[in-house]
Symmetry: C2
Subunit: 832 residues, 2 copies
């Protein structure tokens, strides 16, 4: 099952699809289907029992705690019912993205009516008993969430946090040319920033190679306690806004002032046919147009203005409820407590005339069911909505073909992410239809530009006939818009529908999508426990232009805290990698691109930096996740080390190595163990994280009683937090980023944060028993070396050569045996 | 100095302000001023010395590391120059918000030309020596940042992270009816979500009582490596977009194809006059209109299309540079390395004809300076931009007047935030012009609705003549839009210009503004060290609808990680409070509303919950920040406790008390110390945080050797992280939120996270030496009680009465003496 049967027949106008008239009988069935969905929605919110009202409603039939959101629900079911009619006629491959995800009852009801729900959850049968279970389980302990959650068939978008409906929808549409994604945007959600910019996605979608997003802006007028902005501007202004966003708006207002359902159903069905015909014409025209002659079409969208709480109680206790914010959640909140509200609830439920909708057993009447599509044409059963079903593994090149040749640690000097770019170029080449790179205008800035040898940035806004439109094309694998929200949302939608990708970002600004990461991580966590949800590809971050190298920028661009944010989420889901050099970066990506159901965070610099590990060493180091670098330390086989010098992150690794160099030359009798950590979660206890080292292994590497000086890329807390249960934790001293940034030369930056080589040496002198009194002069020289380095930077604007030109010395295999006392301070340089 | 001298003379049309013609001579001065600003900008980016080119430019005059951003700069200085002319003529009180903050050189240059820079930094003199210092310090170690940072006079907006220019501008305008805020929005920034929705701010600004924001969308066409979306849609579409946002757009395209400066200066000056006249007319009309007849005007905005890198090199190495992304940062990056680029740089610098701009000493010629305003009319010297200057302390009511009457711990049951609302009502009443409440549609949901007794939600979109427009008014102290970004940005702008406020949000969704918080915290951290920046009011968060009570919602609404995010920032800046009940919540707010230069995070529930501390106790408890609750524990004076039961957060406190109750009744010989923490930072070491307890005090309270069972509101890591240096840390066992949420009854939620009373009792049995074997039956009863509670919830949808109805028993003052063996398990209930 890798695609839908409808794929080749999509995009017909109604006239091409059917000779049937849009007759009243069909519209009556649409209305019946809608009433059924609304009935089931109300039932889910209120009823514990008596699902078909076969006996008078009693207080005990009502749930003791009434939870859920009625207001948005009937609009959602209205769209579902009408889409079903159109899908069945046109054999469209379609899916439904529910921006107002708290309208969960409406989507659960719809998928139940389609039969998908029972197929997915066999105990929710299509009969009275099943209805009772369906009702009870909603927003109930041990039951299902109130949102369009992962548990809901057909959902790729929970809609719990608002703002991402359109981004997700476009992400789903990319590379699915036959797919129609209905994206309902609530007018509350429309006020959020991410949603407000996501309308511009239409400048990035390719009309030929990508699918279609049909946005429906659902104006039901009210949020929790306020009117919505877009419902309270003149219609012409709203039309301007939608045109300004590049859409052709179609306005529909229905259901007000007692409008006859037969009238509004016909009006909406005709509107939907018009819109779907426009889409079919655009798609057909695009299919017939050569790639280089494509232009951005004006995609239609619908503004659906309907009463909030449509078909619900008009008034409660004398206050307007339908068409007001009062219907946002549970309008008859005291239905279990007062006879009047109980009666009102019964009247409301009966208004849907369930006896005309369900047979004696409680099953939807077949003629009503017939207005909806079957099989994979059901939106809730579209395989794209269970992305793991259609996921194909990436074809990956052998990363070793892109590796840098490291003969001796410290050479060559390369830009790690640039080499990664050459590897990704091949990934793009080998996977032309299911792999994309997303980022906010930073793909080249983060040095991945080699991918442009084989692809371009997809861009469907205007072109200028100049050389400045660099690597832009109507179709391309790189997606760039200056909105982290948009990029993340697109990528999530792309992954959730069974494809692969990565997001590259400046490290500091990935916090912009903290909350989106949260929601995706929660989605993954929940789907891990839902058997029918097939695993999807991991969400992979490349964080570059990181905290330690913000040369053009300042303090505002310095924040390594995304890692801290990430490790709060479920350990099964998250992975954090800090490869110290190019080959370890390549090996890491070779790994993460093969994984499923994770969020992988990879932090790596883009600046020229020395390489340390050759291919074999990188493979082993990444497989272990951390390890002792023999060549960097001065241990003696069979003897305990005096100190553990540990590091994680490329800049900290460099400083730790420079410190090791200084120690080797200036404290020759010191036995230093040098440890590098690439997989951060190895530090955690194996009971806390699947990658966690056993205590025994941790103790072997870090010792239980020796000082551990740890140079870390981010906020130092995190290392304490990850290791607080370890035996050696009391001996741990961590240096990291301290919110003391802002300088513009690399070494002055590490000095400002006390993460520099000189501080690391001082830490060793301070903490290794017996060193302090012997090496007081060395400590003072370290202080002086820092002062010299700072004075030089302030004077010249660049780093002092002894630091800037430092390279790891060629100590040879027998270095530890050669060490001897050093009369003068050797701070590095040309390996004299 | 509490206001500007121009305040009363603002909003005149040009015809009213001056009888002078807009003559060529004036425009030539504007051009000269612009050239001077551009010259100084280029100088800052490139020159180490030879600031006036009084000798041939040599390689050594060029900085070794060229850092900064040229592309956006000339457009920013162009606006500055033209605004200056208009401000001087009209005596406008104006400020300049620089969305593209990386155009720092342009703003520094402008403030230097105005004289403000030298007044602020006397060593940067207005002569050749000062120019050399000005140039060298830019983006240089020990110098100034490359952005429009706090160091820049006149800045309230660094613009390092893009997206918040308009929100900040509107925040500055609220309650400053005489202030004009020029807000430049880069076309890169315009792609971000927060910016995309912030255009809608015009529906919230009151034309009579608030100031004016004049947005300038600066289309210079390119980002780092891409064209911008808004520069690549048809102009009519962009006009639609701006009209759709509720603005009247004025388009200006200038500087292309060799247009004569005299021509484009005249065209722009006339356009600016037109726009400022329109603003004056709107303001005048509003001033003359009764409040209830006000309507939302169509505020003008400007679309300024100018070449990126305007006036810079047209081509470099044969590639188009001006009007391309290639001029984004440093166009002649190898000026120090190649003669050709050095020559190009010299030619470029000389094109500004500095000898016509500066006198022999290096000072701007007086006639050029005369085109700009003086004193407080200078945008860089407007007192609003140094908010602490105009800050007035809040008039605060006595919070004790709103306190709940607690005679005995556990009574009454109140909704803490609702009582806080009554206190805030008085704060609003007493401070009608400098205090606002911001939140995304959640002020009432978070139970602060009492404020509506004295104010309304400010709303200047359309009204409907119905009762559903609840507490909306043209002017009001509550600002609600469903965008956390917008609310946070408004509040920041309001605070930065010297006012007070708070932001209320659902706890989970405050992560949406993680990165905005970061930037504001960095701003505060930096301004703490800038003597001329006066302290501003703290940024206060009320996080309610918190992780433990998401009854209508599910897992997507459960995230307590904002606290973790916050504590990564500089300790001097951040404060976190978890008041356990109503009076402590009031006392906390009484405190935080008096503070300056902090970010205060207060987490508090809105659901009915028992109160424990009376006024006096609350004052002491909050002043201490944490304390032993004698009445809850079973300690014996003079004896060591057996265990410390600690808690932070309202729900954890309730569970810990219930556990203490169970222990009191079932393990009568156990000496339990009960500790509650309200100020989380007390846990940290005093060397790490100013609120940190000394080790001695910590040891006295938490002991060094007794088990500490800690029930915590958020992710349990944080408590370990804050206490990892404490002596007793090895004895600490923390229970908190574990990413295992989703249930809809309160107790089932705590059970799912193992934070429940039964687990706490089990922890005590497990960890207090000697208890395990004696109380095996009690432990099993705890397990059984959990099973019963869960079964009940799954069956009934509500919590089991023994838990739901549990109240703290009236143990009396001598409780600890009365304890005796209890034959059967007592799980609480009616204090039998």
């Amino acid at each position: 099952m890798t695609t839908t049967s409808a794929a080749t027949t999509a995009w017909r106008t109604r006239a091409d699809a059917t000779s049937q008239q849009l007759d009243d009988a069909t519209l009556e069935l649409v209305d019946a289907w809608w009433r059924a969905a609304n009935y089931l929605s109300v039932g889910q919110i209120y009823l514990l029992d008596n699902p078909l009202l076969r006996r008078p409603l009693s207080r005990d039939d009502v749930k003791p705690r009434l939870l859920g959101h009625w207001g948005t629900t009937p609009g959602l079911t209205f769209l579902y019912a009408h889409m079903n009619r159109a899908i069945a006629e046109r054999e469209l491959s379609a899916m439904y993205v529910t921006g107002p995800g708290h309208g969960g009852p409406g989507l659960v009801a719809s998928t139940y009516l389609e039969g998908t729900y029972t197929e997915t959850y066999p105990h929710i049968t299509q009969d009275e008993e099943g209805l009772q279970r369906l009702f009870k389980q909603f927003s109930f302990p041990g039951g299902i969430p109130s949102h369009v959650a992962p548990e809901t068939p057909g959902s790729i978008h929970e809609g719990g946090e608002l703002g991402y409906a359109l981004s997700h929808a476009y992400g789903a549409a990319f590379d699915n040319p036959d797919l129609l994604v209905l994206a309902v945007v609530g007018d509350g959600e429309a006020e959020t920033g991410p949603l407000a910019t996501s309308w511009h996605s239409n400048k990035f979608v390719n009309p030929k190679r990508d699918g279609v997003v049909l946005p429906v802006l659902h104006l039901n007028g009210y949020k929790i306690a306020n009117p919505t902005v877009l419902a309270r501007i003149p219609e012409e202004e709203l039309a301007d806004l939608m045109r300004g966003y590049g859409h052709k708006p179609h306005f529909f207002t229905g259901g007000f002032d007692g409008e006859d359902p037969a009238v509004f159903h016909r009006r909406f069905a005709e509107l939907l046919d018009t819109v779907l015909d426009e889409i079919a014409e655009i798609k057909t025209r695009a299919e017939e147009t050569p790639e280089d002659e494509l232009e951005r079409p004006l995609w239609p969208m619908i503004v659906l203005r309907s009463p909030k709480g449509w078909t619900g109680p008009k008034e409660i206790d004398g206050k307007r409820t339908e068409n007001s914010w009062r219907s946002h959640q549970v309008p008859l909140a005291s239905a279990r407590d007062t006879d009047e509200h109980l009666h009102d609830l019964e009247t409301w439920l009966k208004s849907y005339r369930a006896d005309e909708l369900f047979d004696e057993s409680g099953r939807l009447l077949p003629e009503i069911a017939s207005v909806a599509p079957t099989g994979h044409l059901r939106m809730s059963a579209n395989p794209h909505t269970n992305g793991g079903l259609v996921l194909r593994d990436l074809r990956l090149p052998d990363w070793r073909d892109f590796a840098v040749d490291v003969q001796t640690p410290g050479e060559p000097i390369t830009e790690a992410t640039r080499v990664l770019g050459s590897y990704l170029r091949e990934v793009v080449r080998l996977n032309p239809e299911n792999f994309r790179i997303f980022g906010p205008d930073e793909t080249a800035s983060n040095r991945l530009q080699d991918v442009y040898d084989v692809t371009d940035k997809q861009w469907n806004a205007e072109y200028l006939p100049t050389d400045v439109d660099d690597h832009l094309a109507r179709a391309g694998r790189v997606m760039e818009m200056l909105s982290e929200h948009q990029c993340q949302g697109w990528l999530e939608g792309y992954l959730l529908t069974g494809r692969h990708g990565l997001m590259s970002s400046y490290e500091a600004f990935i916090h912009i999508v903290d909350s989106m990461f949260n929601q995706h991580a929660k989605w993954l966590k929940v789907t891990d426990d839902i058997a029918w949800r097939q695993p999807i590809a991991s969400l992979n971050y490349l964080l570059s232009s990181h905290v330690w190298r913000q040369d053009h920028n300042g303090f505002s661009h310095q924040d390594p805290g995304f890692i801290d944010h990430v490790v709060n989420k479920k350990a099964d889901i998250i992975r954090v990698y800090l490869p110290p050099d190019t080959n370890t970066l390549l090996s890491t990506w070779d790994h993460v691109l093969r994984t499923k159901q994770y969020v992988n965070v990879v932090v790596a610099g883009k600046q020229p930096a020395p390489d340390f590990l050759n291919v074999d060493e990188a493979i082993k180091h990444c497989a272990r996740g951390l390890g002792i670098w023999d060549w960097a330390g001065t241990e003696v086989e069979g003897e305990e080390p005096d100190v553990v010098l540990a590091c994680a992150g490329d800049v900290p690794t460099l400083e730790a190595l420079a410190a090791a160099d200084l120690l080797r030359k200036n404290v020759p009798d010191l036995k230093v163990r040098f440890v590098n950590v690439v997989d951060l979660m190895r530090l955690q206890d194996e009971k806390e994280h699947p990658h966690g080292l056993s205590d025994r292994s941790f103790d072997t590497i870090f010792t239980t009683d020796k000082p551990i000086i740890f140079a870390y890329h981010g906020y130092p807390w995190l290392i304490h937090r990850l290791t607080y249960r370890r035996n050696g934790h009391g001996n741990l001293h961590v240096r990291g980023f301290k919110e003391e940034g802002t300088t513009t030369t690399p070494f002055d930056m590490v000095m400002r944060n006390d993460l520099d080589r000189y501080h690391l040496v001082m830490d060793v002198i301070d903490r290794v028993p017996g060193l302090g009194q012997r090496y007081g002069r060395l400590k003072q020289k370290m202080i002086d070396a820092r002062l010299e380095a700072r004075m030089y930077a302030y004077e010249h604007g660049t780093d002092i050569p002894v630091v800037a030109d430092w390279v790891w010395p060629d100590v040879g295999e027998t270095a530890t045996e050669q060490g001897g006392p050093s009369a003068t301070l050797t701070t590095g340089g040309d390996n004299e």
